[in-house]
Symmetry: C2
Amino acid sequence: MPKTKFIRRSSAKQSVGGEVENYYLHLGSKPSPKEHIIATYRVESRFAWEKVATEIAAETSIGTWTQLSTLKAPIARKLAGRVFNIDKKKKLIKIAYPLALFEKASIPQLLSGLAGNVFSLRMIKNIRLEDLDFPQKYLNNFGGPAFGRNRVKYKLRAKNRPLIGAIMKPKIGLSASENARLAYRLWVNGADIVKDDENLTNLDFNQFKHRVEQVLYEKTKAQLVTKKKKMYVFNVTATPDVMMKRAKIVERSGGKCVMVDIISVGLDNVQMLRKANLRLIIHGHRAGHSAFTRNPRHGISYLVIAKLARMAGVDQLHTGTVVGKMADVEEDVLEVNKSLTEKFGKFKPTLPIASGGLHPGLVPNLVKILGKDIIINFGGGIHGHPSGSSAGARAASQAVEAVVKGKNIKAWANKKDNKELKQALEHWGS
Amino acid sequence: MPKTKFIRRSSAKQSVGGEVENYYLHLGSKPSPKEHIIATYRVESRFAWEKVATEIAAETSIGTWTQLSTLKAPIARKLAGRVFNIDKKKKLIKIAYPLALFEKASIPQLLSGLAGNVFSLRMIKNIRLEDLDFPQKYLNNFGGPAFGRNRVKYKLRAKNRPLIGAIMKPKIGLSASENARLAYRLWVNGADIVKDDENLTNLDFNQFKHRVEQVLYEKTKAQLVTKKKKMYVFNVTATPDVMMKRAKIVERSGGKCVMVDIISVGLDNVQMLRKANLRLIIHGHRAGHSAFTRNPRHGISYLVIAKLARMAGVDQLHTGTVVGKMADVEEDVLEVNKSLTEKFGKFKPTLPIASGGLHPGLVPNLVKILGKDIIINFGGGIHGHPSGSSAGARAASQAVEAVVKGKNIKAWANKKDNKELKQALEHWGS
């Protein structure tokens, strides 16, 4: 036998704590919150817990399925992921990883390790990365939001109320000038923020550059007319080189905010964008996340994604509606929103966005559950209003007004100035 | 009622084919393979098939959950995703999307649309994007592999045999110089290709730049000694700006190949790297894919990812082993390998890589299933050899030799020159 021993996993000859040293299993040991990244996995497997936990810790740090001649004991003891807790009832395995395993400011490298091959292991039936906790030292490598919740709310003079967001609908189909004129109507009828939808980028009949020009022209007009600050969210989701070019177009044109689909381009792009310091608010869309977050038994929790998004520099992030068209779970959304705004490194809070299937009648319940420090995005819930988009924007702002003033929404809708809200409630219910 | 009608989905008032026009449902119609991208979804829902299919087609193209005043009929008829087939038995829904919906060369934009919010819809229990088919016109926007299978095999003079890849193990823990010296031993003992593992990027004790310098120095030596061409795969997985810098370091230093984790940084990064035309072979690692590919009922099939990877420009791609530590299904791996090498646009074939838990004893079965046009990656299966990594590399190449010569591996192991193979078979079985 070679001197440097290594547990031979996936093998009948395995001997935990016997003549072969298990570098990975340290049940009951205490990780150092200053020196370790801690991952919590939820696991289902027909194999013994200790065996499975060892396999996971090895695959996510320095090991593989067999004993290695090249892994010297001092290195292994220094770098191995250390399983310190197994909660068999909750199916949770907690592993502490020494910081030396990680590149300084690379979300991709972190994910390739802790959310990589581990999902493929044959020995495991289901595995979900539920949570990650980071030492301050690691977090210091990341910029976090350049603006964050408070700055966004201040910019739009909305300290004590939710922000009203309006999504362009149809998702795709309007020309740049139709898009701009519609945005104007939404702003003057009460929307604070108007935004591109997730698949509207640069299309033949609505080119990015034209959209930026025309929308910002209309924004200036809307600000003059309403004497209020308005915002447009330009979708710069693209390959990284193109994304940067488009973000610079927005910056040079006087725009203030860009949207990145953090799933389809990844948080690596957000990191790059943040580092470029273009003084643009970063709006994080999350189309596609449910491919791996929705199954509670396998994949990655959205909590993990949200924490990483805040580290990377997302100022405002889609997190769920609880009440809309998307299948999110109330307690999950609350947990994510809490994680975006509670103390975390030295980062500013990220502003949560509720988006997907919302209409005015849902606003009271939404705010009751999620609070006032959110952006409420309406798409169909504005453009589907029986009297059109302008009426839809008015109905949305009347609904928000009712909630902010503590009024019953149905009573509020009966006031003669609020007939658009009344129509909306009749159309979609409340 | 407004003139432009739109089906009100998720609503009791919905009337398919009645007074409200359903832009999305065209069962039995024929899509044009020259004008449409065709998506195949596998779906589970308790709602009626037509209703669910309409919801999916709307959400992935231009619609949302309610009737929109802003969606004019001519635009809707032109841009809607069109459901043309529902196979209730197989649970498959096929939708044709007009090209006007898509940006020319943006995998992120494609994914935000077709693999975006659709995974979140409350109405659907499970949904998996099983396949995508593309018109030539769309494919022409992409570069595909700059080198491809044949060029890689030619460069390494391996026309009629599998290539032998050796993965650095431990994944993390060796210094740059230990790494380089170990690579030398692997090359001179038979490996064609030596590669970084997925979480080895730029670490304090093994810095990228040093690794490149020292590894390429050892590669030159190994080529002189063996009189054979060798390759090293440098992992450039990082944020896009850093990834490009590292790729340029490899290029300037005379390296030939870089590895990108196509999941943790995304195919958008591969597109950018390919466009830069650095004359580097792009090696696609896939750590993390199983977070959304493993569940056969929900997520995205690896077939879709593999097609997109070929479009983006991946020259050689991890696709599964069937026989190793990873949980892949034989028919899926075969289908993916076929899709990488069959006619597809004007793209060169991508070389499939079998990687994960392989050892010499598995080679005959592996090649029997997957054929000779693959890279066989060994990690633990080399470094776990009882006599060390050099012996491991010899055993791996003896196993490949046996298969190429059509010899029985056990008989071949009994030849006196092949004692390393014999040891490997005794150690891990065959």
